[in-house]
């Protein structure tokens, strides 16, 4: 029985946990190297470290060097995963990822945890709300934001099969399992159709997918039929699914645990603008920094809720 088979719908599991467990499981049959920057206990690469100490290298608190080392390993033909918090992987080491990994198109998988506001108490300096924007501007970079533990584990397997640079975004906070591990098929670059609907479409990513499902349920009770797409792959974006949503439902609301600038909302707006212009409203952090706090009040404070999505869906329909 594999790790994802231990997961059940509704379980609350942080996607970082799925990352760590899936990495360790894949390590049994696949030959790759894992790097971390003194955060193995937090990023959950600690499981791999314990099981395969000969293939784990702690680079210390030096993320720029870690990415460079990953690039060198990849240039010498090794598959490699490099982990840190999103802030320090995509943020601090952005230029190393750009010039040492993306430009030479090396097979490095940057798996960042502690993305978004759900870092919680550590506050703004550690709550990365810009990583999707930064990573998706890089040519040839695949960017994935899993919505739950099942998808987090399956995404890892998918990126291992790619030989180009990848960024996978994981979270610290325990979130509900929304995919049935027995039946869910993760297809990289293809939107996961969560719910059919005709009045508008919610395109959500990461932890916001569960909230989008809740919002759609409540809207249905009010007689509003909403399609929900889980956009786990931010890049390459499933433009066909976005265009179909625009054409068939006439209004779109995006939802992401990220600044509304540059992430999923921007990617969708770009695609909609170029294929089938319709209203696109964005739910996300409204160009602000985060702050310390428990996760539920933070989500409330920054408007990352099903209620906010419902409000935006209604607004989007009035704009049709």
């Amino acid at each position: 029985m594999g790790y994802i088979d231990t997961l059940k719908l509704g379980d609350k599991v942080a996607t970082r946990e799925a990352y760590g467990k899936a990495l360790c499981e894949l390590g049994e049959t696949e030959d790759f190297v894992v790097l971390d920057a003194d955060l193995a206990e937090a990023t959950k690469t600690c499981y791999f470290k314990k099981a395969f100490p000969d293939r784990f290298f702690d680079c210390g608190i030096a993320e720029g060097n870690m990415i460079g080392v990953a690039a060198g390993l990849a240039a010498a033909g090794r598959r490699v995963f490099a982990s840190s918090f999103a802030m320090f992987a995509a943020g601090r080491a952005f230029e190393q990822i750009r010039n040492s990994v993306a430009y030479p198109r090396l097979n490095v998988n940057v798996c960042a945890t502690h993305a978004g506001i759900t870092v919680g108490e550590d506050g703004a300096t550690h709550q990365c709300l810009e990583d999707l924007a930064l990573m998706r501007t890089l040519p040839g970079m695949t960017v994935i934001n899993p919505s739950d533990a099942v998808e987090g584990a399956l995404a890892l397997k998918a990126v291992l099969e790619l030989d180009t640079p990848c960024y996978v975004r994981y979270g610290r906070y325990a979130v509900p399992v929304i995919h049935d591990p027995a039946t869910y098929k993760f297809e990289l670059g293809k939107a996961d159709p969560v719910r059919e609907g005709s009045d508008a479409t919610i395109i959500a990513t990461g932890i916001m997918v569960a909230m989008a499902m809740e919002a759609a349920e409540k809207l249905a009770a009010e007689g509003i039929s909403v399609r929900v797409l889980n956009m786990h792959t931010i890049k390459p974006l499933d433009v066909a699914a976005v265009e179909a949503a625009a054409r068939e439902t006439g209004a779109i609301v995006t939802a992401e645990e990220h600044n509304i600038i540059g992430g999923l909302g921007s990617a969708v707006a770009e695609a909609v603008g170029e294929t089938c212009p319709v209203p696109v409203l964005r739910v996300g952090v409204a160009d602000e920094f985060g702050r310390s706090g428990k996760v539920p009040p933070l989500l409330e404070l920054y408007g990352l809720t099903a209620e906010k999505i419902i409000e935006k869906v209604k607004d989007s329909i009035t704009l049709k």
């Binding site: 210390g60 030096a62 720029g64 060097n65 060198g72 390993l73 240039a75 090794r78 190393q96 010039n99």
Partner: protein
């Protein structure tokens, strides 16, 4: 060193210098000063030291060179051309929009370039990754990286040095091109990284000092580096920026500007006199 070997290395170094001048003159841009300072080291590495096969640039067991100071690309390209990776004539296409010879090294399109580099401080980290990969695979190839003295103001260089020492990368040789000048002036007037030897010893390296333009010393340094086990080696290469072209030597203005037709002709004349 045997006279014939010395003469061969000197000849290749002069050819590398000609290639640097051909490229930067044709491009009307580029970095001749810091390229000329490493010409002798590259001559030795590519013609006497490194296990490479120009017919098979991707050979898994080859020794690798990462030019961390990527702006010295004209020197690397010239060395690769001299070694037979591509025609010497191609050097004149440096930085041209239809050429593969990018302003800074591009591993995807230039035969023989082992790592894309140019953003300072990054190449040495990649070199560490390659050296680690060799250890993991049980291969005996060696990895050389050339870091600029100005480049060593980047914190990432010291992150990489700590990593190399921590993981006992004795197959890694870090060459510091100590030519003493950076864009804004003499390095000791900017943010002086000296003394290198004491710092590098403190960082866990076996340290070798050499004159970057004396082939006897270069040979001794790289021979010694290969015998060091259990820790990486740093070669502090005291060099002259612009070496070999009289009016460029120790002149900071030749860090990043190319000679015009007249000065190019003068430089070529000086180098050809060494052939």
């Amino acid at each position: 060193m045997e006279t014939a070997t010395l003469s061969h290395l000197q000849h290749q170094a002069a050819m590398i210098r000609l290639g640097i001048l051909d490229g930067t003159h044709a491009a009307s841009s580029g970095h001749p000063g810091g390229s000329l300072s490493i010409a002798d080291i590259l001559s030795y590495l590519y013609f006497a030291e490194m296990r490479v096969d120009p017919a098979n640039p991707a050979w898994e067991d080859r020794d690798r060179l990462v030019l961390s100071k990527g702006h010295a690309a004209p020197a690397l390209y010239a060395a690769l051309a001299c070694r037979g990776y591509f025609p010497f004539e191609d050097l004149k296409t440096l930085r041209r929009v239809d050429s593969c010879l990018q302003g800074h090294p591009d591993m995807k399109h230039i035969p023989g370039v082992d790592m894309s580099s140019g953003s300072l401080g990054q190449g040495i980290s990649a070199a560490c990754g390659m050296a680690l990969a060799a250890k993991l695979a049980g291969k005996d190839y060696r990895v050389y990286t050339i870091v600029g003295d100005g480049e060593s103001e980047e914190g990432q260089v010291w992150e990489a040095l700590m990593f190399a020492a921590r993981y006992d990368l004795d197959n890694l040789c870090v060459i510091f091109d100590w030519n003493g000048l950076q864009i804004d002036g003499p390095i000791d007037q900017i943010v002086n990284p000296a003394p290198y030897d004491k710092k590098l010893e403190g960082f866990g390296f076996h340290v070798i000092n050499m004159d970057a333009h004396d082939f006897g010393q270069i040979e001794n340094a790289f021979s010694e580096a290969k015998t060091v086990k259990g820790r990486p080696t740093a070669v502090i290469a005291k060099s002259i920026k612009g070496k070999g072209v009289s009016y460029m030597e120790n002149q900071v203005k030749w860090h990043g500007s190319a000679p015009n037709d007249e000065l190019y002709a003068k430089a070529v004349e000086e180098i050809k006199a060494q052939l």
